[in-house]
Structures are given as structure tokens and as C-alpha cells.
Symmetry: C2
Subunit: 329 residues, 2 copies
């Protein structure tokens, strides 16, 4: 059984929703979950559920908040749920870790505790982006705001490995996010990255424009972390913006309310195809260990799905797959 | 009367829709329009409309296509509608120019023909972005893919002038697009730009995150042209993506079709609040002349609105406003 260290205290709705998500996951997947955090609080939450799978609790007295400076918090709060969870992986007591807490702190703690895969210059955060043609992988999503071409090449290689081995896409198509199709287009970084991606052992299909992100044309999209984070956050906001606009219009009068009632199944379908909760967590690729970040606003269902992808990545030996590619490079 | 040189041959639906848009504009605004392009074709289009305002035609034999290399096309096709329209402004036969054609070629032709405003290092393309709280201005939208902090400072100053004098926003709030609120956040470019924007004579309110673009929190948002172009194109695609998804769901069966019928006014409201056609054209700020780019897919209504904003910018002496700020800097 895959053993996953779960940071039970990270995220906006911890520990109630993280524990609930863990219970759901323990009933669905062949995992052994180690919930890390305030033991009495976690056990109180656990007591709410009768049916649960393999779950144990490891106490950690401190919590790293979302607003704390990542490196400082990781260094000072030795007994934080995040650090203790990472140390379980380091000490081989767990195979993987998942947290909905402070993204920078998770990256820092993982870097200090587990290190990088040999050959990898910069670990990256990849997001699984829902599209009507199935999920695609975007990276980097913010770990590296200033990148060199070599970094983008490694992001492409690591993303390709994840897509193939964890998302089970055969020969995944990898694209470089750019403002035009031609290889001469773009800023200096992407122009210099293009030939490196072309030579890499991936199925590089060239530049991908922003309007093609949702097209299902590619399986993996590569960009620097500044651009990736902006795209991710803008995408989230514009989806919820459109849905809120629609909700407001639908609630306007009796006729629109009646229409909304008739449309319930259709609206459900739309929501599902842009639902971040389905996608689960974001893998931190290049770390010498399986590390997943769940959304800070993750509720039980989203957190359960984050545990699911963490389980799948550990089962498929994600770290071994990336090591094979990067240590030869 | 403001005299506007109209590139009648630029854009996907030229000259039919550009001429129609010009006719509509001539009936609505106190403008004198000079349609530039294939004279017989333009006159054939004009003959369709009985009621029209002050419109004249200037012949130009060539057309610059959307796929042509901008600088090369501008240099070789001396008698293109774009070049001839710019030369009308240069020769003081027109006060402003609007084109739905090749963006790069318009910028190149304007740079060669009209030059930069003294003090401006890099002209920028600004887009008027519709939000439920009213339109906001984003720049640069792709003219400058690799920027220096000084460029972002000038974009902020020029955008502020446009917002105040053409969009009539008092003391417009200017934000720097970034991945976090704190001034230490972001890539090297934005970190170094922050203090310059802080010192500039604008109402700088600090960093703006991608999720706040549609919030109405700021009137002007500044970023480099690579990021701006990605955000613009992604925004366009995600809006039409959501609307298409909705349309598909609404057409599914009799019940949803009936619901869609009941919802027609609500859907109209939503469309209007994300409607790029209402916004009109994108000003090229920093050029020593009033130059507007209409959307390549602009139909008559959108093109008419592009003529409207071109008229307003010329009337408010946009070039004079920017000159005052930049020549002192």
C-alpha cells in the first residue's frame, strides 16, 4: 500500500475538510494515510466518521500560515505539520506528501528535506488544468519567476514524464506557450528555449498560443512561473466571474428563475468541465520525492482528489521516471 | 471636424464591414472620414448606403495581409492602404488613423511615418478591456515583448493620460500586473519597475493580481507585451469558450431550448458586459500621431466604435497630453 503523509493543518478549511477528504480517500483508494498535525483536533474530526480506511495520526504542534514568509517559517517552525510531514517522507516512513498549505513553504520544506532530483536545476509546480477535451498539464505555475531556456527545457521533459506515466497519455504532445505560432515569435526566453525543446526527447509540437490552451491540442504546456501563475489565476477568476454573472442574471426575476431550474443539469455539465476540484493537486516536479500541493481553498472532495493523484504519482514511480531522463541529460 | 484616415482594406471583413462601419460612424459622430484603399471596390460598397456623412475616398493599390512580415511589407508596399493612410496623417491631411489590418505593420508604418513622441522610448499598444465595472485599459498588449523597468514606467504614464483625457476617468488608478500584492513579489522586471511607478506622477496603487483584472479595482494595468498579449488572448478565448459551452448545453433538448428562450435578455446582458465590440479600438500610445488598431475580426459595429474612440482621442489631443508628460521626464 502506498503511504501518504497528509498535512492535515494546511489550507483554508483545515483540519475539518482535509480530514474529511482523507477519510473519503481512505475508503476509495488503496492508501495508508498518515495525518500530520494537532493530534487532539484531528482525532476529534476523525471521530465524526464511522467508515474509514487505513489512517494514522502523527502529532505536530505548529502550523505554517498562508501569509508567512516561506523560507523563514520552514526554518523556524521545525515542528510544523508541513515540516513533520516532509520528514516522514525523508525518513522513509511515507512514500509521498500532500498539503493544501502555504505553497512556497511546501516547496522550501521539500527542497530542504528531500532535495532535487540529480540533474534538475529548478523544480517546478505543475497544474492540472481542466478542459473539455480532458485535463492538460501546465508548468511552471509560479515556483520560478525568472527562468533560463534550460529550465524551460527541463520543465518540458518533467511535464512530459508526468503526462505519460501519471496521466497515462501516450507520447504526450508538449507545447511552448507563446504569442505566435512561428518559432521566431515571442520574448527572448521563449525564442531561445524553442531549439532546446526541439532537441529534447519529447514530442514537441512547437508554440502554443493562449487561445489554444483550452483546445486540447496539446497535453503539456510550458512557460515561466510568472506567466504561468498569471494565466492560472486569470483563468480561475474569469471562470468564476462568468458563472457569477450568469447566476446573477438567473436570479433576476421569476422567468429567469424558472429557466434556471430547467437548466440545472446543463449548468452542472458546464461547471464540471471547468471544475478545478476534479483535477486534484499540483505536483512539484523535480523534487526528489512525490510532493503535491492541493488548492488552498480545497474542500473535502478536492482534497480527496489531491490524495488520489498523489497516490497515482507514487504508484507510477514519478521520481524514478524523471530521474531516468534528467540524470542522463 | 476631426478628419480620420480609415484603412478600408485592413481586417478580415474588409472592405465590406469597414466601409459599413465608416458609414455608421459618419452618421453618428462629427467626423470627416477619408477611406483609403481600392477606390472602385470602396465606392461599390459605399453605393449600398443612402444616408452617409462626410466621407471621401483616396485610392491605394496595394493591401498588406495579416500574415505578411510587418517591416518588410511596410517597406515594400509603398502604395498599401496602410501606408497611404499614415501618409495622410503625416502630411496633415488627416488628424488620426484607424486600421483593422496587420498590427505589426500598422505599428511599423506609424513609427516610420510619424515617429515617436519625444522622450518616449517604446510606443505601446493599449487594449480597452470590458469589465462589469466599466472598461479598463491594459498595456502593453504585444508591441514590446522584452521590456525594461523604464518602459513599464512610461506605459503607466501614457496609459494614465489616456484613461484621464480620453476615457474621462478622474485621477485614474494605475496598477502593476503581478503574481502577488507585496512589492517584493514577482519577476525581476516588475520588482525593479515598482519603485519607478511609485515615483511617477500617476496615481499608482501598487501591484494588481490577475484575479483582480476584472474587479474594477484599477483603471489602468501595466505589464510587458508578452504577458499582456497572453492575458488578452486567453481572456478572449475563455469568454467565447464559456459562451460556446453554454450555447451547446442550451441547444441540447426541448427543455433547455425553452429555457434558453426565456433567458434571451439575460444572455444578452452577459454578452454585452464581456463584449469586445463595444470597446472599440486599441490606441498605439507614444506614436507622434493618433493611431488606433481595430480588431482584425471587427465587423461594422466594432469598427464604428473604433472610429469613435479614434475621434475622441484626436478631439482630446491625446498626443499633446502624452507629450507634456514625456518630454519633461
Amino acid at each position: 500500500m502506498i503511504r501518504i503523509a497528509v498535512d492535515a493543518m494546511g489550507g483554508d478549511f483545515a483540519p475539518a475538510e482535509t480530514v474529511k477528504g482523507a477519510v473519503l480517500a481512505s475508503n476509495e483508494f488503496p492508501v495508508s494515510l498518515i495525518l500530520v498535525g494537532d493530534k487532539p483536533r484531528i482525532e476529534r474530526e476523525l471521530a465524526r466518521y464511522r467508515k474509514k480506511g487505513a489512517i494514522s495520526v502523527v502529532h505536530a504542534a505548529e502550523i505554517i500560515g498562508n501569509d508567512e514568509s516561506p523560507v523563514q517559517a520552514v526554518k523556524q517552525k521545525k515542528d510544523s505539520s508541513l515540516n513533520v510531514a516532509v520528514s516522514l517522507v525523508k525518513g522513509k516512513a511515507a512514500d509521498a506528501i500532500v498539503s493544501a498549505g502555504n505553497t512556497g513553504a511546501l516547496m522550501a520544506s521539500a527542497l530542504f528535506g528531500l532535495g532535487r532530483i540529480p540533474g534538475v536545476e529548478r523544480p517546478a509546480i505543475a497544474t492540472i488544468f481542466p478542459t473539455p477535451h480532458g485535463p492538460i498539464l501546465l508548468l511552471d505555475m509560479g515556483a520560478n519567476v525568472d527562468c533560463k531556456p534550460k529550465h524551460l527545457q527541463q520543465f518540458a521533459e518533467m511535464g512530459s514524464q508526468y503526462s505519460e506515466h501519471v496521466m497515462h497519455i501516450q507520447n504526450p504532445k508538449v507545447g511552448l506557450l507563446n504569442i505566435g505560432e512561428e518559432k521566431e515569435k515571442g520574448n527572448q526566453l521563449v525564442i531561445e528555449s524553442w531549439p532546446l525543446l526541439k532537441e529534447a526527447k519529447i514530442n514537441f509540437i512547437g508554440n502554443v498560443e493562449a487561445k489554444e490552451i483550452l483546445d486540447g491540442k496539446v497535453n503539456v504546456i510550458v512557460c515561466d512561473g510568472f506567466v504561468g501563475n498569471l494565466i492560472l489565476k486569470f483563468g480561475e477568476s474569469i471562470s468564476s466571474f462568468t458563472i457569477n454573472l450568469l447566476k446573477k442574471e438567473l436570479a433576476k426575476n421569476l422567468i429567469t428563475k424558472f429557466a434556471a431550474f430547467l437548466l440545472l443539469p446543463a449548468l452542472g455539465n458546464i461547471k464540471k468541465s471547468v471544475d478545478y476540484d476534479e483535477a486534484g493537486g499540483a505536483p512539484m516536479l523535480g523534487i526528489n520525492g512525490v510532493v503535491f500541493k492541493a488548492h488552498g481553498r480545497a474542500k473535502a472532495k478536492a482534497f480527496k482528489n489531491a490524495i488520489r493523484v498523489t497516490y497515482e504519482a507514487a504508484k507510477e514511480d514519478l521520481v524514478g521516471c524523471i530521474t531516468k531522463v534528467e540524470s542522463h541529460a
